[in-house]
């Protein structure tokens, strides 16, 4: 296997959890809800996903447990922000703190245990093709699933009436309400969907990336996923490009460390996070010129008058 092939394979593996979590958050934000708890939902997905796979020996059960953990966490968030009209930023941060703490508790007994990772696709002939074989036909189901998910979201948002209503709710909740759309119900579903995706993204880590659980193993990926949504200016196509770009930065810094450039390893490890900050600066400077679909009601509390 050549070095380039190895790098591309590693990038695909590293990008998938970002893409899954960011795709869910994109839908949530398109409905006008800012859920900063992605990191908390991911880490809970990781802990519960590992627990499910460990007890049953099935990575499918593990993935389902991860999804349910994310949905459960996001249901708490939905109850707070949509039911009780709590400030979304505060509730999101609380959700992350809660998730990090609880996952440590749940996962404490699993540290040092191993499970069998999600199997990778193997097709005769195709997977054996030189270079492209393993990249295109040798991935696990979650990698293909994440791409299918983004395509599905694109189709939903731009080609279905339900997607149009969801975008309308995010753009102007007062008008959507005046036209008779159930704003809070639609937002609840969007938040739960976002939670499911974040939970699956988190579960990907112990199920497919490294077949064991360590506390805090999401290592800020939830925050990167949040930044990715802004980077993508809320458009699914750009989200794929952004997720792979960030995955590439993560992997390249590992290779750069391996090559021994004499740069402190801590600095190299910080590279993906520095890249996040850089991207956010670039976006804020070019706002309005590259076309932004920022949902106008994003993060605003809505209480219907009755």
């Amino acid at each position: 296997m050549g070095l380039l092939e190895a790098i591309i394979l590693a990038v695909l593996a590293a990008s998938t959890p970002l893409l899954l979590a960011a795709a869910g958050e994109l839908v949530t934000e398109r409905a006008g809800v800012l859920n900063l708890g992605v990191e908390g939902m991911m880490i809970m997905g990781a802990a519960c996903g590992f627990a499910g796979a460990y007890f049953t020996g099935s990575t499918i059960v593990g993935a389902v447990c991860g999804i349910l953990a994310g949905v459960g966490m996001s249901a708490v968030f939905a109850w707070l922000t949509l039911g009780l009209a709590v400030n979304q930023v505060a509730a999101g941060l609380a959700l992350t703190i809660l998730g990090v703490g609880m996952s440590g508790l749940i996962g404490a007994g699993f540290v040092g245990e191993r499970i069998t990772a999600v199997p990778q696709l193997w097709l005769p002939v195709l997977t054996d093709l030189p270079f492209v074989g393993r990249i295109l036909f040798g991935q696990n189901a979650l990698v293909y699933g994440s791409i299918a998910l983004v395509i599905g979201i694109w189709y939903f948002l731009y080609r279905t009436r339900a997607g149009l209503v969801l975008r309308a709710v995010g753009d102007n909740h007062a008008s959507a309400h005046a036209l008779g759309y159930p704003v809070l119900t639609i937002r609840t579903f969007a938040v739960l969907f976002g939670g499911a995706c974040a939970g699956l993204g988190g579960a990907y880590l112990p199920l497919a990336y490294t077949p064991f659980f360590i506390s805090g193993m999401t290592a800020g990926r939830g925050w990167i996923a949040l930044a990715l949504v802004v980077f993508a200016s809320w458009m699914p196509g750009r989200l794929v490009a952004g997720a792979y770009l960030f995955g590439a930065v993560t992997i390249l810094q590992l290779h750069a460390q391996g090559a021994g450039f004499g740069i402190p390893s801590q600095l190299m490890t910080a590279l993906p996070y520095l890249a996040t900050i850089l991207v956010l600066i670039v976006i804020s400077r070019t706002r309005g010129t590259i076309g932004s679909a920022a949902p106008a009601s994003l993060g605003l509390v809505f209480v219907p008058d009755r």
Partner: protein, 520 residues
Amino acid sequence: MRDPATPPRPTAPLLQAIGITKRYGTFAANDAVSLDLYPNEIHALLGENGAGKSTLVKIIYGLIQPTEGELRWMGDKIVLAGPSAARELGIGMVFQHFSLFNNLTVAENVALGLAPTENFSAISDRLAEVSRDYGLPLDPKREVWRLSVGERQRIEIVRALMQNPKLLILDEPTAVLTPQEADQLFVTLERLRGEGRALLYISHKLDEVKRLCDTATILRLGKKVSTCDPRRETAASLARMMVGAEIGEVKAASGRQPTIPRLIVRDLSLAPDDPHGTYLKNVSLEVRGGEIFGIAGVAGNGQDELFAALSGERISPTGGAVVIDGDAAGYLGINERRRLGAAFVPEERLGHGTAPRMKLSENALLTGHAASAMVHHGFVDKPAMLDLVDRATKTFDVRKAKRDPEAASLSGGNLQKFIVGREILREPGVLVVSQPTWGVDAGAAAVIRQALIDLAARGAAVLIISQDLDELAEVSDRIAVMFHGRLSDAMNAADADRETIGLLMGGSTIAPSEAADAGA
């Protein structure tokens, strides 16, 4: 759907509201209001802000449920579960604050207002057809934020018409239109009446109502005052019913002599902050001491951007672009401009003009700390703050429940009197005020206009940005019009007829702005 070929008998009301009451706690927004709407009729709903017009209309459109009372549609009792139930019956609504989605296209906006059964391309075709039939041209593929205010209203009307409503409700439809656009709208409305539809027309513009409407129902403080034929009433008698008292005439102070220019804007160009904002292009103007300078224009033509550049919320590209009393202020922040003797009253009362949850005294401090003696060695002087509140209360008749309540607890008119009073009591040399009487009851509006005239009479330069042409005509000495970020030449208010101003507001004969006498 009922068969449109058999219209109801014109003698029977299409919709009856009987004894409608809506209570929020102990407060009755509507108190036993009854209303009959007939086909072939434009029925005006008149009243001041807070009289309960919006509440009644929301009940008829199914957005809120009445506490008591019932609605009848062609004689049958109905309960509207929501707007979609109202739309199914044949009730359409054109909202005052447009219920549009800025990031979506015209066709998407229209589709959202229709039943989910129709597919998108059929909607686009029908949209083109309706907009052609009624002479309301629209491009279905454009995003709303690219459109003018008049075009946005067209979307609302076309969206409502595509449901083929028997009853169309219009909430203050001319508030944001130029006089010419309003005339066009009236032609459309008269045609809709001719087609046998009932129209409920909400307004507080008495001339329009007299011109257009067959019947008028007047609300005051949630109660119905009367139902009358507006064409048989005078504007004064309608106003009396709305307000419940005679409105004081605003009188021009005599002997106002313009002196030297105290506020000069020279060739100001500025990119907007907001991606959907307006570029200011070479704006120049001069306001002299003792003069009131009015800026007219349809909202969204750069007035907000101009206000921000004058107040110092946005810094100008050159220091000399804004000159306050002879000092170049373009680079100065808002407090430094206040120290030069300028004062500013923004359009938005809650959130921009005041911090809603802070007390009036604290709000007095927020604009007064730079140039008034309310802070000593970094400590606030509470008695001085309360003193300003008391003086504003007394001078401008601010009505409030206690001495120092939260800003948000005041009614719009009283809060606006306080905000304008807070600035005027500092005796500014230059006052810039945006929409001074927007959404304010007639009594408070008269007090505020009088205060602005009196301030100018004491030698201050006053700049008023307003969408209300009547207001500008009443108080201004000179008027200029903003369109697409450019400012027209200033006209003497005495020579400026509504038609010329209206044409300028629509952008038809805009001339590049020039400083009247740059040597001054």
